[in-house]
Amino acid sequence: MKTVAPVGLVGYGAYVPRYRLAASEVAAVWQGGRDHLPVREKSVPGPDEDAVTMAVEAALNAVSRAQVDPAELGAVYVGSESHPYAVKPSSTMVAEAIGAGPSVLAASFEFACKAGTEALQAALGLVGAGMVPYALAIGSDTAQGRPSDELEYTAGAGAAALIVGPAEGALAVVEGSRSYVTDTPDFFRRAGQKYPRHGGRFTGEPGYFGHVLPAAEALLADLGHGPEDYAAVILHQPNAKFPAKAAADLGFRPEQWEIGLLVGQIGNAYAGSSLIGLTAVLDQAGPGDRILLVSFGSGAGSDAFSLVVTDKVSARQGLAPKTMDYVKRRRPIDYALYARYRGKLAV
């Protein structure tokens, strides 16, 4: 997919909460300490945080980098599977908090872990069609895993925000994108249920690999690019193993995926996962760098984007805290405090 008018990212920002739960804490409570650990630790939101508060901080960081008046935003899109309200849009709260609108298109997106990149696709379309000058797309989640479930090791929290604008003012131009979806029962949560279920055998194949790989391959074919054309690749990060294997299968080398692979330190931030990886790459990117971003959301689907960094990036990287500033700002907590903060104790 390609917009009529050239578009790109004019600003970006991330947010990761400060609390960390080591995977060994989960294993100690539920597996007698013996288990293979998919990550080292995951991020945990504080008791006063949710998908909206995290989205707001990521969005304000994106606004700082874009140096755009929030009143100029034509759209505020928030993708999440942990919107604080079942009915009441997160997007209006985010818009009010950052000073956007009221004349603004605001919508909340849902598609498991790819709700954020879906918001990005929609934002590219709006700006590319000339309907709005700037559009804000956010992926933000405070993911919940059922206690003792293997998802509890990785279900993390974080947010990333991207401001899409005309290519001439962009710090990274979007060359093209792709979306690829099928009806796959790999993971779901019924209405009113607190915790999701997953259809175990669907998780890797046909879920993750069955969508990430074809979406990436189709986009590379559209653009006539190969892995060697890219400085960095960021794939959705449900654990450390899947994205590394998928990137290797696509022909990428570890040095291309390691900068944006943060799951070992913050867990899977769901709708924020691949987008936070992108922000970490943009923090270090230089002009001319080409970046491949591929999300994955259960249900299932992937969005793929190819970006080329411009010479405007270096002046904007330092205008907000870098993603690794948030990753390094960590306070480890034990399982008991985690259980309290995440509302897992009946009081």
Partner: protein
């Protein structure tokens, strides 16, 4: 809650974006917004957006708290002296109580204040946290 909903809605702009009142006469800045300057009595006041930076002027640690604030116990409530001069009371978040000292540089963040039960509304607003590394150099 019946009266809280309209009250929270009326105040949300100043709570979400930390707005204050600045007196055009004597220059005094106050939070929350008041129609009359408490310094000189002038009613010629304007609404301004505050920088969100300041330092802890004084603080206390809360253990016995009103309903719906239990989630964060123990938490720190401080008087924060903003760069603009206003002194406001607010919660200090992302911090252990023993890390808070008078003079601690803080910056504003947007957080949940309280929830009116599992089926009530969620109140959001400003809190402060210790200035993040990376933030101090850029703003």
């Amino acid at each position: 809650m019946a009266l809280q909903l309209p009250r929270d809605w009326r105040l949300q702009a100043q709570r979400y974006r930390l707005l204050g009142a600045k007196c055009r006469g004597c220059g005094r800045v106050v939070v929350p917004i008041r129609p009359v300057c408490p310094g000189c009595g002038s009613d010629d006041v304007e609404t301004i957006k505050l920088s969100g930076r300041g330092e802890v002027y004084s603080y206390t640690v809360m253990y016995k708290v009103p309903d719906s604030f239990e989630r964060s116990v123990p938490y720190v409530v401080a008087l924060v002296r903003l760069e603009e001069g206003a002194l406001i009371s607010a919660q200090i978040t992302d911090v252990e109580p023993e890390e808070v000292v008078v003079g601690l540089p803080v910056e504003v963040v947007f957080r949940q204040w309280r929830q009116y039960g599992a089926d009530g509304h969620i109140v959001y607003g400003y809190k402060f946290r210790p200035v993040m590394p990376g933030m101090a150099a850029t703003q």
